[in-house]
């Protein structure tokens, strides 16, 4: 083997290692996540890992809880401060998310859309509801784990839409 081939092989391997070490890092709940984060922010939607948005976005979201994506989600000021402190301290998301805070929906970030290119067609399905309903496909979403290699197969919503499924049911529409 020539030294050039070795170099190429080494670079490829290094690239894979870097990719792998970065892959699982985004979307994990820090150990210090307060219980109040789950009780206040995970009733209407799943708890979103704080590193999925930059601090500017969380600040805006926490400042505008009275108009929280169409719903008034105001909490006591003391609780608001505690949650905001946690979110800002653990915020993240640099690549594929606008740092200026103009990304307020995780599902609208470039990063999310790149990651979900093939899954997006299922989001409007009645049994999924929306792209923010992470737990439908990511069965460990509530623990902050989104790293499964395979999304659960043969659930109802998939059978209805997957044209390659043998057991395809007609779409109720």
């Amino acid at each position: 083997m020539t030294s050039l081939m070795f170099r190429v092989l080494f670079l490829l391997l290094a690239f894979c290692v870097v990719q792998a070490s970065h892959a699982g890092k985004r979307g994990v709940f820090p150990e210090n996540t307060p219980a109040i984060y789950y009780s206040e922010c995970a009733e209407c939607h799943v708890a979103f890992p704080p590193d999925l948005l930059p601090s500017n976005s969380w600040k805006k979201i926490m400042d505008d809880l009275h108009e929280h994506f169409g719903s008034n989600a105001q909490v006591d000021d003391q609780i608001r401060k505690q949650i905001e402190g946690y979110l800002l301290a653990n915020s993240g998301a640099t690549l594929g998310v606008k740092k200026d805070g103009s990304d307020l929906r995780i599902t609208q970030t470039l990063w999310f859309n790149r990651m979900h290119g093939k899954s997006k067609r299922y989001f409007d399905n009645l049994s999924v509801g929306s792209g923010s309903n992470c737990a439908v496909c990511h069965s460990h979403a509530t623990d902050g784990r989104f790293d499964e290699n395979k999304i659960p197969a043969n659930t109802d919503w998939q059978l209805q839409l997957n044209p390659f499924s043998l057991n395809r049911k007609p779409n109720p529409k």
């Binding site: 209407c44 799943v46 008034n72 509801g129 737990a135 439908v136």
Partner: protein
């Protein structure tokens, strides 16, 4: 000393639990005391109607609310609301008030009155 701290901690915890713990029957009584006798039929109608806004209670909790339902926007699963089916419902006063406040705001555009709460709760208690 450690034991004493632990005991005091447990005692405080017990007290806090006691202070917020309630039952659907007790809650209904306290809402009725602030208004008048509850009407299950009024409660059922209130729960299933829209009140000038986009959603009714049933938009997320479904009718009858005796099974898992889905949040109309996010799709997240909501556990059954009827206390006969879900023993965790209407047993924590602070939680009940918090969600009446939030959800009435979404559905009615204001906080619910004690009468409305009494009516809805009395109907929910009949749902099997």
């Amino acid at each position: 000393m450690k034991k004493l701290t632990l005991f005091m901690g447990l005692a405080t915890f017990g007290f806090v639990q006691f202070a917020f713990a309630t039952t659907p029957q007790e809650l209904l009584k306290s809402y009725e005391a602030q208004s008048s006798k509850a009407s299950t039929s009024r409660g059922e109608q209130f729960f299933n109607s829209k009140h000038g806004k986009e959603w009714s209670c049933a938009s997320c909790h479904e009718n009858p609310p005796n099974r898992d339902s889905k949040h109309i926007i996010t799709g997240k699963v909501i556990k059954p609301l009827a206390p006969n089916v879900n023993a965790d419902r209407f047993v924590d006063q602070a939680k009940v008030e918090k969600w009446f406040k939030r959800n009435c705001n979404d559905v009615v555009g204001r906080e619910c009155t004690a009468q409305e709460k009494a009516d809805v709760l009395s109907w929910l208690m009949t749902v099997k």
